[in-house]
């Protein structure tokens, strides 16, 4: 068996009286698409926030490529190669689409203006941003310098996904990337996910859309009440059983028995 690229054991996260993670485990294999499904509030977002350094878990360990890590900020995780689209998108509302796409990775002008005066290459960035959005099928964005807060819900999500996809790295984590997207745009995101995997990069996909999950996932991590209930193979389990598991209508041993 290959070693997991990213592994977590016994993660606990409590917020005052609320328990978000209750000794959750997690394994991501190299080159796979791992889907994470679960009820609303099951702790999926909390899990990936812990993994990507956005929150510090109260207990538990995280291992990346065999080395135990503990991030004190998302930047460290990002530098370790973990790229993440958060459910809350992490966009700056008042800034333009371009600014948001290149946040922290801006392109400079060639020549001395760029090297010595740090001048940004606005044109090149705009062109790149427009291309990436078109790749996702977001043709309704009329003005690439529009502030993100003026975009429609789906356009915003598209910008966040395009950003993660454009700067591919070791692991890409997508928290409900298609929730607000239209039919066409969602399809493009699924294509993109498969594309990323075909380049060898593993993807974690959180989604409530069962057909999508069963279509692209190599393995499905079912999360319930703050912990990993089980991991199933989409080829050997039915959608109804997966849904039954995640909503507590069935227990994992019952599936094995069935």
């Amino acid at each position: 068996m290959t070693e997991p690229l990213l592994k977590a054991r016994g993660l606990v996260k409590r917020y005052g009286r609320v328990t978000a993670l209750d000794h959750a485990d997690f394994d991501l294999m190299p080159g796979e698409i791992l889907a994470v499904i679960g009820d609303n509030g099951a702790g999926k977002s909390s899990l990936i926030k812990a993994i990507s350094g956005a929150v510090a878990p109260d207990e538990g360990t995280i291992t990346l490529e065999g080395r135990e890590v503990s991030y004190s900020s998302p930047l460290q995780a990002r530098e370790a190669g973990i790229e993440c689209v958060y459910q809350t998108l992490a966009l700056s509302p008042a800034l333009s689409i371009t600014d948001n796409m290149f946040c922290g990775r801006e392109l400079r002008k060639p020549g001395i203006m760029g090297r010595w005066f740090g001048m940004l290459d606005q044109k090149a960035m705009e062109k790149f941003a427009r291309e990436k959005l078109s790749e996702l099928g977001l043709m309704t964005i009329q003005n690439i310098n529009q502030a993100v807060e003026t975009l429609s819900g789906g356009q915003r999500q598209g910008v966040a996904v395009a950003r993660a996809a454009a700067f591919g790295s070791k692991v890409i984590i997508l928290d409900e990337p298609t929730a607000a997207l239209g039919v066409k745009e969602s399809r493009k995101v699924l294509d993109l996910i498969r594309d990323v995997r075909s380049r060898g990069t593993p993807v974690v996909l959180i989604s409530h859309n069962m057909p999508h999950v069963f279509e692209v996932a190599d393995r499905i991590h079912i999360h319930r009440l703050g912990r990993r209930l089980c991991v199933v193979d989409p080829k050997s389990i039915s959608m109804s059983d997966a849904v039954a598991l995640m909503t507590g209508a069935m227990r994992p041993d019952e599936v094995a028995a069935a």
Partner: protein
């Protein structure tokens, strides 16, 4: 694939009928003493300024000796903070709506001058003069609220402007002359009503102190137990969301400013009792001091978060520092220095406790 669904997509939902219907619950690891304290603090962030207050009283008790600790001195501190405390109550209302009111102290001084002029110099009966000052306070608040809601000025700018206006009116009306305590005593002693004291053992509580406490309790009730109070928080939290959710945000905002103006007028009355005379130059730094009390009390300047009681404790913390330093014999210059550090340290402790308990 053995069992892919057969039609319109939703077959796999058949199992839903059986899904669990219990509300999620988790065991909690037993907490130690510190854990419990942290938990209580997290659930009740108002306790944090209380702890800072108690700690600073303890520290000054040690540094400045038993004089500081006497009931007499502690009640004196209450007296000294009463006016800034009342202003801080008004300021809290505004800050909870994500505003800021630079004019509170100016409204107060203007209203004390108006009631004094009327009662002492024009012979208007004192109750009427006080009523006029109440009306004036409400009108001043209305002007601020109108500028903020109708003209859509940022509260900082609106009240910066009205601060200048009220300040000029105050100087014009009073000619910068104070009204003597003795004259008030003979013509309109009612103006000094809040200067009366109740003696309890060694402690001397002025009516002004009681007024301050009463205002805080009343506002605490209104903000936490009535619909209007919840709306104030909602507006401060996210005005647009509150509007979409069906709150009459502008009307409520204007009411908030008017209420704050009224409280400033009450402060004006109380300040006559406290100062003993009416001096148009008093409380020049009152705006900043009231804001300081509010922020030390853990109320967010970005609105919608914090409890009004925090402002009371914030005012008391500042009062304790000032009195303690004085009693410890610190030079005025180094008092300023120390107050600077103590503001920083008080709020740093607050932040630290919140973080630890998060």
């Amino acid at each position: 694939m053995s069992e892919t669904p057969k039609s319109g997509g939703n077959d796999y939902e058949a199992q839903l009928a059986k899904s669990s219907v219990a509300v999620a619950e988790f065991d909690h690891a037993p907490r130690g003493l510190i854990g419990t304290v942290q938990h209580v603090l997290h659930a009740n962030p108002t306790f944090v300024p209380v702890i800072v207050l108690v700690a600073s009283i303890a520290v000054f008790g040690v540094i400045a000796g038993e004089r500081f600790f006497s009931p007499f001195n502690l009640s004196l501190i209450m007296q000294q903070v009463s006016i800034i405390g009342i202003l801080a109550a008004a300021q809290t209302l505004i800050i909870l709506t994500a505003g800021i009111d630079l004019s509170v102290a100016a409204i107060m001084v203007l209203m004390s001058v108006i009631s004094g002029k009327l009662a002492v110099q024009f012979g208007v009966p004192a109750p009427l003069a006080i009523l006029v000052s109440f009306a004036g306070g409400i009108a001043a608040g209305y002007l601020n609220g109108w500028l903020v809601t109708k003209i859509k000025l940022p509260p900082f700018i609106a009240t910066l402007g009205t601060w200048n206006v009220f300040f000029a009116l105050n100087l014009w009306l009073s000619g910068a002359q104070s009204i003597r305590g003795a004259d008030i005593d003979t013509t309109a002693p009612l103006l000094k009503f809040f200067g009366n004291t109740i003696q309890i053992g060694d402690a001397r509580l002025t009516y002004g102190t009681l007024l301050m406490i009463a205002i805080f309790v009343a506002l605490w009730y209104v903000l936490n137990k009535t619909a209007w109070g919840r709306h104030v928080y909602m507006i401060g939290d996210d005005k647009e969301a509150a509007e979409l959710a069906g709150i009459r945000t502008d009307r409520t905002l204007r009411q908030v400013y008017m209420l704050a103006g009224f409280i400033c007028a009450l402060a004006a009355w109380a300040s006559i009792g406290r100062v003993g005379s009416i001096s148009p130059q008093s409380f020049y730094e009152g705006n900043l001091e009231s804001i300081t009390a509010v922020v030390i009390g853990g109320i967010s300047l970005f609105g919608g978060r914090g409890s009004i009681m925090g402002a009371l404790f914030g005012a008391l913390i500042v009062g304790v520092f000032q009195s303690g330093l004085r009693l410890a014999g610190v030079d005025v210059l180094w008092q300023v220095f120390a107050i600077g550090w103590l503001i920083i340290i008080a709020v740093a402790i607050d932040q630290w406790i919140r973080k630890v308990s998060a």
